[in-house]
Symmetry: C2
Subunit: 248 residues, 2 copies
């Protein structure tokens, strides 16, 4: 048996999310079906993060155990050939130790959220950013965001379906910057609650448009109450950027 | 009658190209149909450049004449509402003089071609770049590209269906640079021949992969013969960037 670490890029739009489910396609199933067609084995794929419907990944880390001998390069090429024409691509594939785990060995996760701040609807970026027409003050968002950094009870920013054992997390970084029409939000933590990034972005967008002040965002955090959530940003603009591990 | 200058962004994939045609959808028809629904008038839209099937535009300039009075802001909003959910967006709309013409007043056109230099198929960028797996030397491409800059007979880089009166054009700029996995080619000229950019990119890609030397590219230009063309790059990676006009 060989455990392979996969780096996976995907466009989340055609899928119900990463996780295999009965009622629609998933990224996990796409890769598992491709692997089964290649190896004949029904191997499960485990990811660093199970993204929701419509959420994209630049580089999701996952692992899969294969019994029959196969070279990593060959597995990667075969998976990519089988995955076409779905928007799922294996960027890298390497052997790892049997006790390395994509989810449990993960030291940190990073997300990017893209807001397209313009009046016109999206054409080239449709489905890959959240379009907001009203002018956005990215500097005000950056300043307000710092109140969320650190060790906090993020109940306000946690979906009702969150499976995490605790609402207390450490948010290592939450930065906002403008690049032309795009307002980019980067979030980094060891792990996130379900919908945490989208919830924080939704509230930051209210600050950026002048509807909330920084103090309102801080108060929402303090409330530790889902009802205090201003707004949950749509999945379109969310990208899983990367997962970090100890040097192998 | 008011002439409106439109700035249009579009994803070329669902269309047979800019130009209206009998056998498939076009960007021109999408905009004309939207305008007709709004104004009741059968007005034609004229563009700075008539892109081919699959070619994208970041900002195509076009004009349309409307008889009934309508404010530019209102026309833009109404067109965008009607164009949904097609990937065509009006980024700007302003009144211009009746003798201003999107095509004939145009002083210059700029294109961008994106090559994704990686082994893995495209997922997030599918249809918006040309994926080349073999390593590409962007510096070699940049050096070779300079032989094409200037006043030349570009017959080798001209499709058989080109409607231009002459194969002699001045290419103002052809620059190649690498940004991570992406190799970006920018071309600027007053005007281009049909397929000129894709033909130049196709040949530059042969230089980048070491199959042609810079001298081979120069020889292909000198041959002034379509048969000497190395390769015509796919439309996926081609973006019309902008059209330039005298200050109004």
């Amino acid at each position: 048996m060989t455990r392979f670490r996969l780096t996976v890029e995907y466009d989340g739009r055609p899928f119900m999310g990463w996780q295999r489910q009965a009622h629609g396609p998933s990224v996990q199933q796409a890769i598992e079906d491709a692997a089964k067609a290649i190896t004949g084995e029904a191997a499960a794929v485990h990811a660093a993060g199970r993204t929701d419907a419509g959420v994209h990944a630049l580089a999701m880390t996952a692992h899969i155990d294969i019994e029959k001998p196969i070279a990593p390069f060959r597995l990667m090429a075969a998976l990519n050939a089988r995955l076409r024409p779905q928007p799922v691509a294996i960027l890298a594939c390497e052997e790892v130790a049997g006790d390395w785990h994509a989810r449990f060995s993960c030291l940190g996760r990073r997300y990017l959220y893209r807001i397209a701040n313009r009046r016109a609807p999206l054409a080239l970026e449709a489905g890959r950013a959240w379009q907001i027409a009203r002018p956005i003050d990215a500097d005000a968002m950056q300043a307000a965001a710092q109140a969320l950094v650190g060790l906090h009870d993020f109940t306000t920013f946690r979906s009702a379906h969150c499976q995490s054992a605790s609402p207390i997390k450490t948010l290592d970084r939450l930065d906002v910057r403008r690049e032309g029409d795009m307002v980019l939000i980067e979030a980094a933590a060891r792990s996130f609650l379900h919908h945490q990034v989208r919830s924080m972005v939704g509230c930051l967008a209210l600050v950026g448009q002048g509807q909330w002040r920084a103090a309102d965002l801080a108060a929402a955090l303090e409330a530790r109450n889902r009802a205090a959530l201003g707004f949950n940003a749509p999945p379109d603009g969310l990208f899983f950027v990367e997962a970090l591990y100890p040097d192998i």
